[in-house]
């Protein structure tokens, strides 16, 4: 899964897709997910980091992360072949 290269993410979590002109706002955890995905970090590594950093169980992470990925799909923020 690859985030579209052209996507710009600001420090405040403002996401701009220059190919469609769409913009989105991320919450804090969304910023972390997206930045790590943009860096090419795999899901398992992200999971490890989040479980270490926050008081959250694996099931809650899975549900939150999958929900986030589904939103990326829905808003066409992933590269086409993903």
């Amino acid at each position: 899964m690859k985030i579209k290269k052209s996507i710009a993410v600001s420090e405040t979590g403002f996401v701009f897709d220059p190919t469609t002109g769409e913009s989105f706002s991320l919450n804090e955890i969304g910023i972390e997910y997206l930045n790590r995905l943009k860096e090419g970090v795999e899901k398992d590594e992200i999971k490890k980091e989040i479980l270490e950093k926050y008081d959250v169980d694996e099931m809650t992470f899975e549900s939150s992360f999958n929900d986030f990925i589904n939103m990326l799909y829905a808003y066409q923020l992933l590269e086409k072949n993903d």
């Binding site: 052209s6 710009a8 701009f16 220059p18 190919t19 469609t20 002109g21 769409e22």
Partner: protein, 356 residues
């Protein structure tokens, strides 16, 4: 040793006549065109506003227009139009004329040679280009140039409305020849819109398949030899109930640019144009309209780095024009309305003498 470190740039003085001063909630492109020209690095412009109605807001924007003349409606014919322009030209010595209304373009295109004889340059599409992109013949245009267009049908009377279900599913778009587009969910609504449109613009009325998707537009300028001088794609962010963009953003869409270049190359488009497209959820593009002129959101293109009205003036004057190859993605515009306090004397003068 060279001591000529700095060379003062002198701008060429040009007098430009512009129509479409109706900066209303259905804005004409006149004022945005003037703003663009006022920012030209090459030209020092003197603007002559040409207005049809005495309450077109641009008439009263005296920092944008130096002089305004009332014009006869296009429906009165080209003779009256030329007579009026001859008179205006005898006072103002117009270099370039930029018409901005769809409904007047035909008269100006037909009069282009006579205008040239008066010393007034234009840079307009040819009559053939103008005719073949009409909404009523968009399907043929799509076939000829390999462009996807929504299914459409031209109707001339209310009696044809009940036969539409043979070809269309509701809702459908009901469109006027030049302006207006309404969504209709049943035959009664189509009839309603048909009557509203024909009372203003006459027949035919175009019935068009309603395609779900995002409204995206391209502003472009063709040099008449198949080259694109500039093109900027935009997504509407805020749409008024008249379907007009009240906010928009430039986008980096290669497919839209390729489509624009292909249309300009094949048609050898001459002048400004606006492509209205629907981008479907499958990322296909359907052409819903070609407006044969600069659109009202032209100033966004200037903000993104392409001063297309300036380039159009250069083309009209026969100057060499280097095509724009880039623009800034993510440039936004948000329109606003503004109440001007106007002098009654000014209203009186334009109403009684036709000049201001």
């Amino acid at each position: 040793m060279h001591t000529n470190y700095l060379k003062k740039m002198t701008k060429t003085k040009v007098t430009i006549a512009v129509t479409g001063l109706n900066n209303t909630d259905n804005p004409g492109p006149g004022i945005p065109v003037i703003r663009s020209l006022m920012e030209s690095d090459l030209f020092e412009v003197r603007i002559i506003g040409l207005a049809y109605e005495n309450l077109e807001p641009g008439i009263y924007m005296r920092d944008h227009v130096q002089k305004v003349y009332q014009m006869p409606y296009p429906s009165t014919g080209t003779d009256l139009l030329l007579q009026r322009l001859d008179y205006i030209n005898s006072i103002e010595n117009i270099d370039v004329l930029i018409p901005n209304f769809d409904a007047e373009l035909y008269s100006f295109m037909k009069s282009a040679t006579k205008l040239e004889e008066m010393g007034i340059k234009t840079f307009l599409p040819t009559l053939e280009q103008f005719e073949e992109r009409h909404k009523a013949v968009l399907s043929e245009f799509g076939k000829k140039y390999g462009v996807s267009v929504p299914k459409s049908k031209t109707i001339f009377s209310v009696s044809e409305v009940y036969t539409l279900t043979r070809d269309f599913d509701y809702p459908v778009l009901v469109k006027g020849k030049y302006y207006d587009a309404y969504l209709a969910y049943n035959p009664e609504q189509v009839i309603n819109h048909f009557n509203k449109i024909t009372s203003k613009w006459g027949t035919p009325v175009i019935i068009q398949e309603f395609v779900k998707g995002t409204e995206v537009n391209v502003i472009a300028l063709g040099d008449g030899n198949g080259n694109t001088i500039g093109a900027v794609p935009m997504r509407k962010q805020y749409i008024t109930n008249k379907g007009k963009a009240w906010g928009g953003i430039t986008i980096d869409d290669k497919k839209m640019l390729a489509l624009t270049n292909s249309i300009i190359k094949q048609t050898k488009w001459r002048g400004g144009m606006e492509l209205e497209l629907i981008k479907t959820v499958d990322n296909d593009y359907l052409l819903i309209e070609i407006n044969p002129r600069i659109p009202a959101w032209v100033y966004l293109a200037v903000g993104a780095g392409q001063n297309l009205p300036e380039a159009l003036v250069k083309l009209a004057l026969g100057m060499d024009v280097k095509p724009y190859t880039t623009y800034k993605t993510g440039t936004m515009f948000v329109r606003y309305s503004y109440d001007m306090i106007c002098d009654l004397k000014a209203f009186e003068k334009i109403s009684t003498t036709g000049e201001l």
